[in-house]
């Protein structure tokens, strides 16, 4: 009996299962999702002189509001409109959610704990992460709704505008570290300085692009309630809607983890503690906390900003962020040359 339990524990703790399934994969993604949406609402509410979610578990300020919402979504009937393309309509949200989360498997959580280590793991994360917006297009087109169509097209415009500069500003860090291996990047940062100090331009650009690609304010353009109702997700209800709504937060989560690794020193510095399992828990927790701070900062923007118009967001991306990302590559080279002197 004990043998079986140990075997299961071993299996779960094996990185090939633990990473995609538990952390930073599916389960922690869900947990973060439940927390961050609640926290976003609480933050906005505080700035707006009100309480936000309160009555579901009042002692903790309504902390499990999202669990209640999730239950409601689960039991609500997902209505598929007659005129919609059923296949695209139903599988769109599932694939959207899956593709938002899938990049998490390539994220290492300590020097020796990762699903796989590759010379190009940065590219794997960025590449997988680019998949998601395509399904927004599918959803928008498949739901056969004019607002959905416009929302999908907006996403289509934004894909290139945010992904290309994001690639470049992430690659600026690869240039700086001389590697695309995320584990090696953390190692180097612990020897030198955090990435954000070495190349602040890349960090700022990456952060703004993160907001843009995950549809946070002020770039909440794809959904834009007062303009196009809910964009691609206008026709959705029930758990399918829940998936579409969660997808962008999961994407934010993955990108925040990446941000923490690229710019904030990953799981370094580790607190000098020793306890059973600390080899896994400590670096994981440090990385998670850093990512959480980034996420909180991102969702705080809801309380500060209105939304840009799509042409303004595109102009910002192409006129300012894209040149800034190119500049950050040169900045990396400059830093490197300064380093070698």
């Amino acid at each position: 009996m004990m043998g079986l339990l140990e075997w299961i524990l071993d299996l779960l703790l094996s990185p090939w299962l633990f990473v995609p399934l538990i952390y930073p994969g599916l389960i922690s993604a869900f947990a973060v999702l439940l927390f961050i949406i609640w926290f976003e609402r609480k933050l906005a509410a505080k700035v707006q002189l009100r309480y936000g979610p309160l009555y579901v578990l009042k002692r903790l300020g309504g902390a499990i509001q999202l669990v209640a919402d999730l239950l409601r979504y689960l039991f609500a009937e997902p209505i598929v409109p007659d005129q919609a393309d059923r296949l695209a309509f139903i599988f769109g949200p599932i694939l959207l959610f899956a593709s938002s989360y899938i990049a998490a498997i390539a994220i290492p959580i300590s020097y020796d704990f990762y699903a796989f280590r590759s010379e190009i793991s940065l590219l794997v994360v960025l590449g997988l992460n680019t998949l998601a917006p395509a399904f927004n297009l599918v959803i928008g087109w498949g739901s056969n709704n004019k607002f959905g169509l416009i929302g999908g097209l907006r996403e289509g415009f934004l894909i290139t505008a945010d992904e290309i500069p994001m690639f470049v500003s992430a690659l600026a860090m690869a240039v700086l570290y001389g590697t695309m291996d995320l584990v090696r990047m953390v190692e180097l940062q612990s020897e030198w300085l955090w990435g954000i100090a070495l190349n602040p331009l890349a960090a700022v650009t990456f952060f703004v692009l993160m907001l843009l690609s995950t549809s946070r304010f002020p770039f909440e353009i794809v959904e834009a309630e007062s303009e196009i109702v809910m964009g691609p997700f206008t026709e959705y209800s029930g758990i399918l809607y829940g998936l579409t709504m969660g997808a962008s937060y999961v994407k934010l989560y993955v990108l925040s983890l990446l941000f923490a690794i690229l710019f904030l020193g990953g799981w370094e510095p580790l607190p000098p503690l020793e306890f059973p399992g600390s080899w896994l828990i400590l670096p994981g927790a440090v990385l998670f906390l850093k990512a959480l701070v980034i996420m909180c900062l991102s969702v705080f923007m809801r309380a500060v900003y209105p939304r840009y118009r799509i042409d303004q967001a595109l102009r910002l991306a192409w006129h300012y962020l894209f040149p800034a990302s190119i500049l950050s590559v040169f900045l990396s080279l400059l830093v490197l040359s300064g380093w070698s002197i």
């Binding site: 933050l43 505080k46 700035v47 002189l49 009100r50 309480y51 705080f300 309380a303 500060v304």
Partner: protein, 175 residues
């Protein structure tokens, strides 16, 4: 008259910073919400809420029903005695008394202001929930039995609003 400063990216950057810092400042500002069923705002004196009817001083003039803009107030004829039947005086010569229909009442207070004897007066209540429309209609007898009162599961905390220079309205415990 367009502000030229806005064309400068540095000025815009300052605008972004200002906005974010102002948002952050309000993270530590006290909230304004009154959590209603647990806390109840005390209404000012003279609030135009539900109406109290003192039938004993009513002179059946019908002005309240005439002035009512929403036709909520109506004069009801009390039970009239059959000819020849022995009955109390008010049933032989039936009087009319007002009754109110709160599905229509708009709480303008004209009836209260026009009542020549002061038989009608507002009470500071506005939050009564009904289960059906019929129970919102009060014929004279029920109307005279007193205004409806809100029911709370637990007695609410009463808050008195006072103006405050820093918070706008400060709600302080009333008792």
């Amino acid at each position: 008259m367009t502000d030229r400063r806005w064309s400068s990216p540095v000025f815009r950057l300052k605008g972004h910073l200002d906005a974010i810092l102002t948002g952050a400042k309000y993270l530590i500002t006290p909230r304004a919400t009154v959590r209603y069923p647990e806390e109840v705002i005390e209404l000012p004196e003279g609030y135009r809420g539900f109406i109290e009817y003192k039938k004993d001083i009513c002179i059946s003039c019908g002005l309240c029903a005439t002035v009512c803009p929403a036709n909520a107030m109506k004069m009801y004829v009390e039970r009239a005695a059959e000819p020849g039947e022995e009955a109390p005086a008010e049933e032989v010569k039936p009087k009319r008394y007002p009754g109110i229909n709160y599905t229509r009442c708009i709480f303008c207070g004209f009836c209260v202001d026009v009542c020549p004897t002061g038989a009608l007066e507002h009470v500071e209540t506005h939050d009564v929930a009904y289960e059906d429309f019929n129970s919102m209609i009060y014929p004279p007898g029920e109307f005279a039995a007193g205004p409806p009162k809100p029911e709370f599961d637990t007695p609410p905390r009463r808050l008195r609003p006072t103006m405050d220079e820093r918070r706008g309205i400060a709600y302080e415990p009333a008792d």
